[in-house]
């Protein structure tokens, strides 16, 4: 209702905050998806390994222990298998540990993805390759977890420390990952190790503005079973004083979140493994005020994710049956002093079957069918159900040692919005031992969200999905300790889902398939690990140039304008230096200026900003690693607002301990 009746007052923060992303779209997506994973067992086949070594240098360099993959079962094997012609970046646990614990922070400082963060810890929407917040899929152990209400994930409600690695895949991935995998996808992975091990990891940090972060992770495993439990808690008063001369403070910005992630695997015998993944996430955020006497609001999220998987191997077949249950719920308190709230809840059940068939060493096939069903209700959503099914066929073919390709198709079946047919085709060719080229083209989609379809009184049941056709070309240069990739892409997206007011009176907002967007640009990823004597350096850099334009009718003239909150330039860099037991690192982020209005009004541009962080730690352990460290965030006290009137803190400090035993 609020949404709708914009005119009576402003729309409530609940909607506004979440919706303010580059478009006003909501989305959703769902469910499942994806990928079954083929748990790797890479080891058995040496040839495969050689191939991986040859072709996947990027992967390997970033994840050097994947070489000893022997006992590691990755949670999403299809990601490697069928995305090889696209750009993949892996952030491993040591990178995760040195960054602040939110997914926004981690990706902002380490990838090309831009974030529209409404103040520190507040709602945060990505723009990946110039797309909108709902056009990036977040995949938890192979399952799409974007919100059913909004279609997008809030990157400040995902903690990073519960995961062994986080993989960023640029470009379309709807065949494997379903709705929203248009700009790219973020993969949160819990990988299991089957070897005798008992290890503990304790992390604790304390920082400015009463910011505390704690994480405990334990692994107990044998060759038969493997258990991994991780518990995290983050909280902050977040009441920083605005940098500069202003005596303003960040009011009502406090938050906490608690999460627990459990992964368990059991090998019945050589051919049968059962795995269970479970996550709970509970958070409360007050939303920072943009004007000091505004009504204070707060927002609670409670999410549960459970996945059970049974994998069996017989001859050249790998069969994988997965059953998942995903619950998402929120409560919005429009007035903190009152018990009144609005809420929404969706529960999704997914069943997915993935049969992989290795025709021979060179040709691999997967067929995946999945079905998901969800039920949602809330203050503005009547009890509604939705069912979606899909079938996919995937092929990977190694033509020669140097040349391979992937081809895959997917058909969606649902009553709620068309039945999109999707495809992806990609190939790689390795010209020399240091240069390879990659090509990929795909069709992807984003389905309308619960809000789009079912919002009481204004949902529109006749929406089509957004559709994206895209192509990219990647060049990769690599040596033993150096890799550089340069990728250019073009993406044409039509039928964008947007909430638009009625022409003339503007009284009623309702969702429509309206705009078209054309996005194109280039990305550069770089990693270099020089070693000089006992001095070890690691340099990482990313740069993105992004043009993403939608048509706007300005004074009766149609013109292309850059989407709001999509910078033309974004750059990140980091240097890590290790010498004996001391390690130190510096991170740098540059976000170019962005427009905040659809017509690109120059007066309301958001200024570009540079932020740098510096950290140093000392390992005083001998056999184990016991680190104590110190960080200075926003080193030169940059005064910046990533979104208009959403202030970020100035220079601040964190101390931490990181114990592994």
């Amino acid at each position: 209702m609020l949404v709708v009746n914009y005119k009576t007052t402003a729309r409530p923060g609940e909607w506004e905050g979440k919706q303010q992303d580059a478009s006003q779209e909501t989305c959703l997506c769902n469910k499942y998806r994806a990928l079954g994973k083929k748990s790797v067992e890479i080891m058995t086949i040496r040839i495969r390994f050689t191939f991986f070594l040859l072709m996947l240098c990027q992967f390997i360099s970033a994840q050097s222990d994947s070489i000893k993959l022997k006992e590691v079962i990755v949670s999403d094997s299809n990601l490697k298998k069928y995305s090889s012609s696209q750009s993949i970046q892996v952030l491993n646990d040591s990178i995760i540990d040195t960054n602040q614990p939110s997914l926004t922070y981690l990706l902002n400082f380490n990838t090309v993805i831009y974030f529209k963060e409404n103040g520190l810890g507040m709602t945060s929407a990505p723009s990946f390759r110039g797309t909108t917040g709902a056009q990036t899929a977040v995949i938890w152990n192979g399952i799409n977890i974007n919100s059913q209400f909004l279609g997008q994930a809030d990157f400040n409600t995902i903690g990073t420390r519960d995961f062994n690695s986080i993989t960023v895949k640029a470009g379309g991935g709807s065949v494997l990952y379903g709705s929203s995998a248009i700009g790219g996808s973020i993969h949160l992975n819990n990988d299991l190790r089957f070897k005798n091990e008992f290890s503990n990891h304790v992390f604790f940090s304390a920082g400015s503005y009463d910011t505390y972060s704690a994480n405990y992770r334990t692994i107990v495993s044998s060759e038969k079973y493997s258990l991994q439990v991780s518990i995290s808690r983050n909280s902050s008063e977040n009441d920083f004083k605005y940098p500069g001369t202003s005596d303003q403070r960040n009011i009502n910005g406090e938050y906490y979140n608690t999460s627990m992630n459990t992964t368990f695997g059991y090998k019945f015998n050589a051919n049968n493994i059962i795995k269970a993944y479970s996550q709970f996430y509970d958070s409360e955020r007050h939303f920072s005020l943009t004007s000091p006497n505004a009504l204070k609001t707060k927002y609670n999220d409670f999410n549960t994710r459970n996945l059970l998987e049974w994998e069996s191997l017989f001859n050249r077949f790998t069969s994988k049956l997965r059953v998942a249950h995903i619950g998402e719920s929120y409560k919005y308190f429009p007035n903190i002093d009152s018990k009144t709230f609005t809420y929404g809840k969706v529960e999704t059940s997914i069943i997915k079957y993935d049969l992989a068939f290795d025709v021979n060493d060179k040709i691999k096939l997967n067929s995946i069918v999945d079905y998901s069903r969800n039920k949602g209700y809330g203050s503005s959503i009547d009890n509604v159900k939705r069912e979606v099914g899909s079938a996919s066929l995937l092929l990977h073919h190694l033509l020669t040692e140097k040349w391979d390709y992937n081809a895959s198709i997917r058909q969606e079946i649902t009553d709620n919005y068309g039945n999109p047919f999707l495809f992806s085709f990609g190939t790689r060719y390795q010209f020399t031992d240091f240069y390879r080229i990659k090509l990929n083209a795909s069709k992807n989609f984003r389905m309308p969200t619960y809000n789009d379809l079912f919002w009481e009184g204004s949902g529109n049941p006749n929406l089509k999905p957004e559709t994206s056709y895209q192509a990219e070309i990647g060049n990769e240069f690599f040596t033993k300790n150096f890799s550089l990739s340069i990728t250019g892409y073009y993406n044409s997206i039509k039928d964008l889902l947007r909430w638009v007011p009625t022409e003339g009176s503007g009284d009623i907002w309702s969702p429509e398939n309206t705009d078209k967007v054309r996005a194109y640009g280039a990305e550069v990823l770089l990693e270099w690990k020089p070693k000089i004597g006992t001095h070890n350096f690691t340099l990482n850099g990313t740069y993105a140039y992004t043009v993403s334009e939608g048509k706007q009718l300005i004074k009766n003239e149609l013109v292309y304008k850059q989407l709001i909150y999509v910078p033309y330039h974004k750059l990140t860099g980091s240097v890590a230096y290790n010498w004996k037991k001391i390690s130190s690192y510096f991170q740098y982020l540059y976000n170019g200026e962005v427009y905040s209005t659809p017509f690109n009004n120059p007066a309301t541009r958001v200024k570009d900003y540079n932020v740098g962080n510096l950290g140093v730690d000392y390992d005083f352990g001998t056999k184990n690693s016991y680190k104590i460290g110190f960080q200075v965030l926003n080193l030169w006290n940059e005064n910046y607002q990533p979104v208009i009137s959403r202030q970020m803190p100035g220079r601040n400090y964190t101390i931490y301990i990181n114990l592994n035993f």
């Binding site: 503007g506 340099l539 659809p598």
Partner: protein
């Protein structure tokens, strides 16, 4: 390897270039004249949660100044969701809804006199009676039972008491020691008019007028109320009404019904004629008419979203919110619909306030 080093260097160097070429070409400093006798103020609501409400001033010789409050009062902002301006004596009162404040300024210079922040919760509109200010407040917009009219002592600029009213008090006008409050309904849909006795600060009466009363215009001993009707998303949808209340006895004297499910937007009266809007069509009829016209006076085809409306001095003034995010436009038409002036104002212009 060497060539990669060079390549790497090139990337670093070029990145340093991008980092350093931040441009600051948008400080085009505007100056405020500080002289606002006559003319009119255009209130720009701004975007919710982005405190970019602003006040524009159009002089009698049609010179436009934008953002005058912040320019005259450096370091101060108009606020979030600037809703209404009221005049009393030499002062103007700018009500900022989501900022929960009222900026009190001199109406001829716009110099700040005071900021009222306590006792307000989602303030909407202001009127004056008996030497006091009366401000409608929604309270917590999700709570239907905490809505009130705040009473402001104009000498101390503080809220001294509050008068509970039914949900969603909106526009308010004064007549002969009484205040008339349109109960538009806030986030819900109201249908009544509340009458407050300013001598006792109590509700004298409350009676139904029509669904969702949006405009109140006092003219010639009567109060004309434009009711938009219940919108499509709040079943049962109803059509709008134009209701005449006799101010001598506070009863409904006449009702003109809109046809079908028409939802009118704004009403003003000039020279004993109604002017009202439906979408971006403008209609007119004599206040004595017994039926509403079937054809529009004209269609303001320039206007994407008609967001502010006034008729005065033989002109029709229209605010266009465009897309609620980019700066809006204001248009001035003759009484027959000839466009005479286009003005680039602030975000979502929602009202015109004549300073005389």
């Amino acid at each position: 390897m060497k060539k990669f080093n060079r390549l790497f260097l090139a990337v670093i160097v070029s990145s340093a270039f991008f980092a350093s070429c931040s441009n600051d070409d948008d400080n085009n400093k505007e100056e405020a004249s500080g002289d606002y006798k006559g003319g009119l103020f255009i209130l720009n609501e701004g975007k919710f949660e982005t405190p970019n409400g602003s006040v524009s001033y159009l002089s009698d010789n049609l010179t436009l100044e934008n953002n005058i409050f912040s320019l005259v009062n450096p370091g101060k902002i108009t606020g979030d969701t600037a809703q209404n301006i009221g005049f009393q004596g030499d002062n103007a009162y700018v009500v900022a809804n989501a900022s929960n404040k009222i900026e009190v300024v001199n109406r001829y210079t716009f110099k700040s006199i005071a900021t009222i922040t306590t006792g307000l919760k989602y303030p909407r509109y202001i009127a004056f009676a008996n030497g006091k200010g009366y401000v409608t407040n929604w309270g917590d917009p999700y709570n239907a039972a905490d809505d009130y009219v705040a009473v402001i002592d104009l000498t101390t600029n503080t809220v001294t008491s509050s008068i509970p009213v039914t949900e969603g008090p909106e526009k308010i006008v004064e007549n002969n020691g009484k205040l008339y409050v349109a109960q538009k309904g806030g986030y819900g849909q109201g249908n009544s008019l509340t009458v407050i006795n300013a001598a006792t600060n109590t509700v004298a009466t409350n009676f139904a007028v029509g669904d969702v009363p949006t405009s109140l215009v006092k003219d010639n001993g009567a109060l004309y109320i434009l009711c938009a009707g219940r919108p499509s998303y709040a079943a049962p949808e109803t059509a709008g009404k134009l209701v005449k209340v006799d101010l001598s006895n506070n009863t409904v004297a006449a009702t003109l019904n809109f046809t079908g499910l028409t939802h009118p937007g704004f009403l003003d009266i000039n020279d004993s004629k109604f002017y009202y809007t439906v979408g971006n069509n403008i209609y007119t009829a004599a206040t004595s008419a017994t039926a509403l016209p079937t054809t529009a006076l004209f269609k303001a085809s320039e206007v994407k979203i008609l967001y502010g409306f006034a008729v005065k001095n033989n002109n029709i003034y229209i605010g266009d919110a465009v897309n609620y995010t980019d700066p809006g436009n204001a248009y001035i038409y003759s009484l027959t619909g000839t466009l005479s002036k286009t003005l680039n104002v602030g975000v979502s212009p929602n009202g015109f306030y004549f300073n005389n």
